[in-house]
């Protein structure tokens, strides 16, 4: 075998020494601490050694100095975990000395923390999701979409609620302008000349329907079960509505055969759908498509049947044969099955609709909701009318009452705009149109909490509702704010409970858990289907299993220890099957990839003891966050698992003790791994170098303990194929293209290892046990994550102090989820009095 040399990068002690740092002087430190540093640290981390580019004499002893605090925390960790002084050091402290040193730092930190102020959340714009929710909340228009030009948010930070990641670029402002225009177009009826779209039978659009034609007959015949996705919808091609409004749809049609399945005349039902939501070739009758009208079709004689329906911009009207069959719902039918059903329907001379032509015209009138928005009045360009129209809208948009000056400015600008504009159509409507656009592009709408003079409950209402709903505060919250009752601790408790019970807390599940528990990555994950059984239904299962699991802990106010280990999971059959569990699945492989064509069935809640007693012990490896496939898969690349990425993930997201990122520009060192027989031996290279080992002694044992999970979370006891060095991510840099495979066929997996404090790991169960035994680790980690998501900032020392207090108040039986959120929301760090 050829020698494989890997470049293992030196992991240096993360360090930000700057010229501005103040040297530590003996006088500033307690004598014992100074003694300890002199005796055990200075040889390597003083002016002579400077190991890892770190000098302990160059960091300020002031624990409240944010610039050096991180480094003191690291010093504390290393000494506490006995990583420092290293094994080969000349001198080692006694346990007594070590404890005294640790205690003295901790005391100093505590003292600094107790006096530190809580942080302040910087002004920030709404993120993309909050922005869309806020618009939808304001206008309540079905299917409103952001324009294609709307740029994505940066994904650099742990949460998309953090101001540093929410940059407002010109491209984004341009998109805000465009969106504001779309919203105004949607609310205020536009003068659009009505258009007529007409198709004769040959040109009518038809999906995978049970339909046929007859020679010499200029018509299309339709039949179909309305409960099947492929049920025979027809539409006029290219008739997507250019503007919202009432549209007339007409069909030249007749019914043949007896009455429908419900003994009533056959009828067309009309449904609306935006074709950009679904691929055109597979437009399906989906339960989510609103059914807006239906009309009876007369027998024998061919006549125009017509109907006027409310249509939103971009929607197409689909006509279905409504009451044709009473057969059970078909989740999916292949083309072949449809052909068979069609042949059967033809042979049985069953009731059928015969269509010669279809027409859509409009808009012929404004929508009822548009008239209602104008207060059912004819718009007028007067101060009173515009005030009545725009001020309430602006108050909802700004999530607080307007000042008189603000209200005057909006009204007077809109008025003067009309007098300035030479556009012919309807000036009053344009004044409203303009006013709406102005409100929706102003910083008061786009930024959260702009009005710094008013430290009041309105800000708290917004903070709370964007935290738990990713949406603007509702009437209840605003009413409480107006009475200054929201900040009352008991009221907060009630509101948190109410908000979590509300359906909108789905947003919290989706976005908090989506980022913390990696569902956003699972959404984009590409999985090698040569190695794994994989389908879109499995991806759906991965995402939903995390959402349902998190949602249950949240809504049922379960103990937060459930996150560490649970006796239930959510799964669908293909997920279980992909994990190699014996499952009877009723869904075909083809069907399982039709994510965009059909609604996948909801996952089942599975109690692990039931499965175990049913003879399969295999699900014992599930439960808790460490068993969630979104987490296990997101820390791999869809081909191989990566113990390092997994270890880093667990430290960051469950232990709350993140490993520093590998330094960018440390020199590479060569480690000979030519005889490596798998990932464990490759990772052992880290132990050969102290600078690697500093971090990897914490990372690698955790990752290795999870190696029984493959790249998508299936359970394995052996590596099935040759294990590639690069896939182990043993190196921070790629290897040369050749000699990349290490022959390690069918190596059995050894999940054993040891945490730096000596805790033995023999698999995922032990990581769970460790966390359960050290529960303050996870409580602090979860509280910090919630804090970061809710306030959008990294905790300052003062915030950490507040978080520690919350952790220290954990009841004997452990926190429950809603209770923990309530604690956080009521703390000064979430919404402090000194703001």
């Amino acid at each position: 075998m050829t020698t494989v040399k890997a470049n293992v990068l030196l992991l240096a002690f993360g360090c930000l020494l700057a010229a501005l740092c103040q040297p530590t002087r003996a006088s500033e430190l307690s004598d014992s601490r100074f003694q300890f540093i002199q005796s055990f640290c200075m040889d390597c981390h003083g002016p002579i050694g400077q190991e890892g580019d770190f000098r302990i004499d160059r960091i300020s002893s002031d624990m409240s100095d944010e610039r050096f605090r991180d480094q003191w925390e690291l010093v504390l960790d290393y000494v506490k975990l006995r990583s420092m002084p290293p094994e080969d050091a000349k001198r080692h402290p006694s346990d007594l000395e070590r404890d005294a040193f640790v205690r003295s730092i901790e005391v100093a930190m505590k003292a600094a923390d107790e006096s530190a102020p809580v942080g302040k959340t910087a002004l920030r714009r709404l993120n993309r999701n909050e922005y869309l929710n806020t618009i939808n909340d304001l206008i309540g228009v079905r299917g409103f979409k952001l324009p294609n030009s709307f740029p994505p948010d940066s994904t650099d930070l742990p949460f998309d609620t953090m101001p540093e990641g929410l940059f407002l670029s010109p491209a984004l402002l341009d998109a805000y302008l465009e969106t504001a225009g779309l919203v105004a177009d949607t609310l205020v009826p536009q003068r659009v000349s009505p258009q007529l779209h007409r198709s004769t039978a040959a040109f009518i659009g038809v999906d995978l329907a049970r339909k046929w034609t007859k020679k010499g007959d200029p018509a299309v015949y339709l039949t179909g079960a309305n409960t099947s996705p492929w049920s025979g919808g027809i539409w006029v091609p290219n008739s997507a509505a250019k503007a919202p409004g009432m549209y007339r749809v007409r069909l030249l049609a007749s019914a043949e055969g007896p009455v429908g399945a419900d003994d009533k005349p056959l009828r067309f039902s009309f449904h609306l759908s935006n074709p950009t939501d679904y691929p055109i070739a597979r437009r399906a009758l989906n339960v989510n498509h609103p059914r807006v009208a239906s009309v009876d079709v007369p027998h024998t004689q061919t006549n125009w049947v017509e109907c006027v329906v409310p249509v939103e911009r971009g929607e197409v009207i689909y006509a279905f044969c409504e009451n044709r069959f009473s057969e059970p719902p078909l989740p999916y039918a292949t083309k072949q099955q449809i052909n068979q059903m069609t042949a059967a329907a033809k042979a049985s001379n069953a009731p059928t609709l015969r269509v010669e032509a279809m027409e859509v015209s409009g808009p012929i009138a404004p929508l009822p909701r548009q008239l209602e928005f104008l207060n059912n009045e004819k718009p007028s360009a007067t101060d009173e009318y515009l005030r009545a129209m725009l001020v309430p809208f602006a108050e909802r948009a700004y999530r607080r009452p307007l000042t008189n000056e603000e209200a005057d400015a909006i009204v007077s600008h809109s008025l003067s705009h009309v007098s300035k504009t030479k556009v012919a159509p309807s000036p009053p409507a344009y004044a409203i149109h303009y006013g709406l656009r102005r409100i929706l592009t102003s910083p008061e709408f786009l930024y959260l909490e702009t009005e710094s003079e008013r430290e009041d409950d309105y800000k708290l209402a917004s903070r709370l509702s964007y935290f738990l709903w990713s949406s603007p505060p509702d009437k209840t919250l605003l009413d409480l704010a107006s009475k200054s009752q929201l900040s009352d601790p008991e009221e907060l408790r009630r509101q948190v409970a109410r908000m979590i019970a509300a359906p909108r807390s789905d947003q919290f599940v989706k976005h908090f858990a989506g980022q913390w528990l990696e569902n956003r990555k699972a959404e984009r994950l590409m999985v090698c289907d040569v190695r794994y059984r994989w389908s879109e239904l499995i991806r759906h299962g991965f995402i939903r299993s995390t959402e349902l699991f998190f949602g249950e802990v949240l809504r049922d106010n379960l103990p937060i220890a459930t996150f560490i280990d649970s006796d239930f999971i959510y799964a669908n059959e293909p997920m279980l099957e992909s994990w190699g569990l014996p499952v009877e699945t009723s869904i075909s492989k083809h069907e399982a990839n039709l994510r965009h064509y059909m609604a996948f069935p909801e996952l089942k809640r599975i109690r692990l003891d039931e499965i175990a007693s049913a003879g399969s012990s295999r699900l014992g490896e599930r439960g808790g966050i460490l068993g969630l496939p979104s987490v296990l898969a997101a820390t791999g690349d869809g081909v191989e698992s990566s113990p390092i990425l997994r270890g880093v993930w667990v430290l960051e997201n469950l232990f709350g003790t993140p490993a520093p990122p590998p330094p960018a520009d440390v020199p590479a060192i060569d480690v000979d791994i030519s005889n490596a027989k798998g990932v464990r031996e490759i990772l052992n290279a880290h132990k050969e170098n102290e600078s690697c080992n500093k971090c990897h002694q914490r990372i690698d044992p955790i990752g290795l303990a999870l190696e029984n999970y493959d790249a998508i979370g299936g359970w394995r006891t052996r590596y099935q194929r040759s294990y590639r060095v690069s896939d182990a991510k043993a190196t921070h840099e790629d290897l040369p293209d050749s000699s990349k495979d290490v022959q390690a066929l069918s190596v059995s997996i050894d999940p054993t290892g040891q945490l730096p404090d000596g805790f033995e790991l023999e698999g995922p169960e032990d990581i769970k046990n460790y966390l359960l035994a050290n529960r303050e680790l996870f409580t602090r980690c979860l509280t910090t994550k919630l804090f970061e998501y809710g306030t959008g900032r990294e905790p300052t020392m003062g915030d950490r102090n507040v978080i520690d207090q919350i952790v220290s108040r954990e009841p004997e039986s452990g926190y429950r989820m809603i209770d923990l959120i309530t604690e956080l929301v009521r703390s000064d760090s979430f919404f402090g009095p000194e703001r």
Partner: protein
């Protein structure tokens, strides 16, 4: 900067096709035996108009699976400005659109990153590109004109209002609000430009090009949409509507139409071919479609004279490649790279990372391309060298 030699006019356009799933390199580089992926360009009579370059790399961190394909035009980090956006302000100053970011199918992937490193939104609908080139009906043009001019007075007011708000917020928050103020000013300029162009007539539609009667941008039709995008880019160049383009071919998770038939596995899964012949053949068959579109596009450019008499091919640099070196193994080394046209003396193949051509940074190539287009720069991303000696 090395001044462009001679009096030959500089290329003034840049087109980049980037796939998210690489290209199968044994059939891509011109120094291989009968590379299948080059057959289309050779057959189109473009055998002397391109150069493939092997051995280039971004030297970035080993990414998470597919993340690295986003660095194709940005270099080592994906959070950086992309080559096209670096050059667009200058190259695109005189055209209706400064640059276009296109994507075949609904994958929404973008090769282009803004100055702040954020991926720019892509246009996925061919009909939208068509309307951008040829304009819309008179009613909507009148409306656009109103929206732009009222938008400008709206921005004026907002600027005034935000200015007073700025005085009320804390100093830290002022920086955030300044992002808003800066953006307002920049968008005002954009609107001004848009308004000016709106007043100038759009070109007459090309009678030979017809959009399909119904638009379908589903992932399954990624190749059909790619064909349309190639044709639309040629039209946009012929009408001089835009001079900087990126076209992304997203890696599809689902099966796709290859001609009349749906493939039995997904594009992405074929890319994990593990050197199995039948999977490689399917992958190459899909990639051949990219190259057929490219060949048709390049042939059109070659047959069309630019205003200065040389062909559009010579006045346009076309770069075809991927930030994914080997999708089968998620490898980022030895990126597939092909440069066509642009007035270069093409040599069919350059092998980098060798004794003869020690350069191996992909951005060395970008420096050469930028200099050829007249930019005074010696670096791009982490590269400080160039390939001027090999590709002149």
């Amino acid at each position: 900067m090395a001044k462009a030699t001679g009096t030959a006019p500089r290329p003034k356009r840049f087109v980049c096709l980037g796939t998210q799933l690489g290209f199968y390199k044994p059939d891509f580089f011109a120094n291989q035996d009968n590379p299948r992926l080059l057959a289309a360009v050779d057959e189109a009579g473009l055998g002397k108009d391109f150069t493939t370059i092997s051995g280039l790399d971004h030297k970035g961190p080993t990414g998470m699976g597919h993340e690295l394909c986003h660095t194709f035009l940005t270099g080592t980090s994906r959070k950086a400005v992309s080559l096209d956006q670096q050059i667009a302000p200058m190259l695109g100053a005189e055209t209706r659109y400064e640059s276009m970011q296109l994507c075949a199918g609904s994958g929404k992937a973008s090769l282009s990153h803004s100055k702040t490193g954020i991926p720019l939104p892509v246009t996925t609908n061919p009909s939208v590109v068509y309307r951008r080139i040829y304009g819309a009906d008179a009613v909507s043009l009148e409306r656009q004109s109103y929206v732009i001019s009222s938008g400008r007075s709206l921005l004026d007011e907002l600027l005034e209002n935000a200015g007073s708000l700025r005085m009320k917020v804390s100093r830290d928050d002022r920086a955030k609000l300044d992002e808003y103020l800066t953006s307002v000013r920049e968008v005002e300029l954009k609107l001004q430009r848009r308004k000016q162009w709106l007043e100038r007539p759009f070109p007459e539609p090309d009678p030979e090009f017809k959009l399909p009667s119904e638009e379908n941008i589903s992932q399954a039709l990624v190749l059909e949409n790619e064909d349309l995008m190639w044709d639309l880019m040629a039209l946009a160049i012929k009408t001089d509507s835009c001079r900087v383009f990126t076209l992304t071919i997203p890696g599809s998770n689902g099966t796709i139409y290859l001609g009349e038939d749906l493939t039995s596995s997904s594009y992405h899964n074929y890319s994990h071919h593990g050197n199995k012949q039948e999977r490689v053949d399917m992958l190459v068959a899909i990639e051949q479609r990219h190259m057929e579109g490219a060949a048709r596009f390049l042939k059109t450019l070659k047959e069309t004279p630019d205003v200065d008499g040389r062909s559009l091919l010579d006045s346009t640099i076309t770069l075809i490649g991927s930030g994914m070196g080997d999708p089968s193994k998620h490898r980022r080394v030895n990126l597939p790279m092909l440069v066509a046209g642009g007035g270069f003396k093409h040599v069919r193949h350059i092998e980098c990372g060798t004794k003869e051509v020690p350069n191996e940074m992909a951005c060395d190539l970008y420096v050469t391309l930028m200099q050829k287009m007249g930019f005074d720069t010696n670096t791009f991303s982490t590269s400080e060298s160039n390939l001027n000696g090999e590709l002149a």
